[in-house]
Symmetry: C2
Subunit: 472 residues, 2 copies
């Protein structure tokens, strides 16, 4: 009955780790994760080969994977995001990765691991606390990281489930997120990582003047357009502008007396405070954007940990994104046909993640993109996005530093906005103005080899990304 291992070699023997398996990891620890290194490092050491690595996302802390791709331990990557040296390595098609990287949204991945497209042989699930029976959570322990929403679904779907923890509890764990019934083994390690490094990249709030103007424009839109904000459900995305907008929105809720029915998404300390003050009635938390959020999950019964199936699985009609009224999402590029890119820069470099972008945009009744029109002298609005991640048909409004851009079908809001003195702009016109100001972005030059595929939620390949020529 003993499921607890301190030796990874003995664990691998017991759960029968073999060449060619698909193994999975979650990224709740974001750039503070040590679990991928621990597991893949041991596989390399033990000569295990041809592993398919499926992660909810990959961060710069996973750049070391380059070595394990080079030595043949890893032959394929599936993820929602890619950045840093690993992104550059993939992008240059160095010939080591046998298969193109597959990019999926969080919802698309939830579907793929349960519907047979990409079944997981072994899920290695980082947990900040676990007990000897296998019950686990991310809410307690030194490295608590809040919701373990991706891990819950992996535990329910993977053939074998290993909890990796640095805090083993001898009795029954309090506040169980993953149940012992789903767990085959517990691996105790000195450290699962550093949850203080959770705040990274898209989670660092911005407060430059342009960001503030955009955030103000969002509030102006919500307040004056005629959109029904009171009692609405809302998703606030990651990305500096979304995060700043959250702060403005909370101030607006306070002043206006309007209330949010539920908010989903990466949960920030700002959202937790809004829940406590009653501006938001419930929080659905698939991923926490700050270690401190754990405390709220533990004590507030209106702060719910949800698994990624309940968040965004397109095969689950009841998933939360389908009940969204309003979503505020970021963009690296948006094109004149409203398609959005959140994965690559205009130069083709991997520098972001799909995250829940596709899921939320499709599910939400009204999808608002927030971004500047120009970023570091590179146009954000383009003729055609470098990488079409989210289809234009799921996007409704683009709010930038210049004002509000509405799709034609939303012209009902136009009069209200103009009456309130808020600039309503035309997509084509902004595109032309921006082009005049900064010219075209330098486009990447691609070679023949396909290095990555971007799927839509249902698993269709929407974009093939080729090997990128390095521009000196």
């Amino acid at each position: 009955m003993n499921k607890v291992f301190t030796s990874i070699e003995k664990l691998f023997e017991r759960i029968d780790v073999r060449n060619g398996m698909r193994i999975s990891f979650h990224h709740h620890l974001r750039n503070g994760d040590l679990v991928v290194k621990h597991v893949v490092g041991a596989m390399s050491r033990l000569g295990i080969k041809n592993i398919k690595l499926s992660a909810t996302s990959l961060m710069p802390c996973h750049d070391f994977l380059i070595d394990f791709i080079r030595d043949g331990t890893i032959v394929s990557l599936e993820t929602s995001g890619l950045r840093g040296s690993l992104g550059e390595f993939v992008s240059r098609g160095e010939g080591y990765l046998e298969y193109p990287v597959i990019f999926r949204s969080h919802g698309g991945r939830a579907r793929a691991i349960s519907d047979g497209e990409a079944p997981v042989d072994i899920a290695f699930i980082a947990a900040s606390s676990a007990d000897i029976y296998g019950n686990a959570t991310g809410m307690s322990g030194l490295n608590s990281f809040g919701s373990i929403g991706y891990g819950i679904w992996e535990a329910q779907n993977a053939k074998k489930v290993v909890i990796v923890t640095d805090n083993l509890v001898q009795g029954v764990l309090e506040n169980i997120s993953i149940c012992q019934s789903q767990v085959d083994a517990i691996l105790v390690v000195p450290s699962i990582g550093d949850s203080s490094k959770l705040k990274f990249g898209a989670l660092v709030s911005k407060s430059d003047p342009i960001t503030k103007v955009i955030a103000r424009n969002v509030i102006a839109f919500l307040a004056k357009s005629g959109v029904d904000l009171d009692n609405a459900s809302i998703q606030l995305g990651s990305g500096g502008i979304s995060l700043e907008t959250t702060k403005y929105l909370i101030d607006y809720l306070k002043e206006s007396g309007k209330r949010i029915k539920f908010a989903i998404g990466g949960v920030t300390p700002e959202l937790v405070r809004a829940l406590e003050y009653g501006y938001i009635q419930s929080l659905l938390d698939v991923q926490s954007f700050d270690a401190s959020v754990s405390k709220s999950l533990l004590r507030n019964s209106r702060h719910h940990e949800i698994d990624v199936n309940t968040y965004a699985n397109p095969q689950n009609d009841s998933c939360a994104v389908n009940f969204l009224d309003i979503a505020i999402l970021s963009a690296l590029e948006i094109d004149v046909n409203w398609n959005v890119n959140v994965l690559t820069g205009s130069n083709g470099k991997f520098m972001g993640a799909i995250g829940g972008h596709q899921d939320v945009a499709e599910g939400s009744k009204l999808t608002i993109i927030v971004s500047p029109s120009i970023r570091e002298r590179i146009p954000v609005v383009v003729k055609e996005v470098t990488t079409r991640v989210t289809d234009g048909k799921y996007v409704d409004v683009w709010i930038n530093e210049r004002g509000i851009v509405l799709k034609e079908e939303h012209n009902v809001y136009k009069k209200n906005l103009i009456d309130a003195g808020i600039p309503v702009l035309d997509m084509e016109e902004i595109y032309k103005e921006v082009e005049k100001l900064v010219g075209h972005a330098q486009r990447p030059r691609y070679k023949e080899k396909v290095v990555a595929l971007v799927q839509d939620r249902t698993g269709c390949t929407k974009v093939k990304i080729n090997e990128r020529e390095v521009i000196k």
Copy 2:
């Protein structure tokens, strides 16, 4: 996206109720349940036929099912228990039920609904609170009944899931037991029942002198035999003697300073108090034996709601019963080969339930049966039990009002007990003494037709029960 129905006819249309389906119910409301009547009554009214009814247990409040068996709505029953007029009806083989009743333990049923033996087409799950998205619980609302542990597993396994509630919440429910992702529809009814009727039959504590003597003998055994009680995990069953023993055990824990690691089972207010005082470190609650227990589930993070798969599914190596050190279980009969009957009286009448008996006895390291040796001038100890529910090989100790009966392999405890002046008795000898005192019990006379099958946990039929001849 609307999943809420107030008309059962419209609900049936939407979820496509058809003749011949297997539908399921839980018995958390015990003798206060109204949901079975509501659903099956509507089926009869609408002319739906040949339904297989699978319930975690059936109580006297379900006697009305006789009418719906007679009119052809119901053709088969699967349950862990049967009593009252419905039991008598089945027992007499009145020719209406097409198939024998199948009796399974809670763990056996968990297995059967997930492994393909008895898949559920539609689970109707009574919930004392639910929200418009489908999230549900038994912990809140006017008719709160505590853990909804059987329902959780049905929600995960049934093809269609209907939550039946009398308390619909408009926002996101607090304290969610069953997740919206698993729920197809919510049926709002005026009343799911009366949770004050939870305490019924086996849950009514006894305090007659014999019961007290047996409870004292159990404590004497635990205190003096050398059994390692401190830091042990324990299950305390239902039945008047088990319930009385719980009280004595708690007093003993208080005095001795010994502590229980975790306790499973029907959770009583006594167990909740023991948790609060720290005598028991954690409670695993698959079913609450009093409506008041809800409050503890809501506020105490060491009081865990567990589903029946985690409780006792024999296909789940990690189920809680496998981690039990000591179990205290009741008996209607025990025979000289240690086999136990908890389902029928010596007269063959259905008057009990398997419940978790088979599961707990097999899982626990030490299984103690508590019962008097004679009950109302009918012998409890017999040559061969009328209905062999739990195999003698899983039973270790029998404690009655006369003293302690040990299986030979437990003779290690014998000396300690004798030294402490506690009577240690021999099974055969008690059997003979009891026989001398009250004679044989009148055995039932059976006819040819098989009216019920008793399965073991794995799904093998262990006992066939024939139509009983009515003795006038």
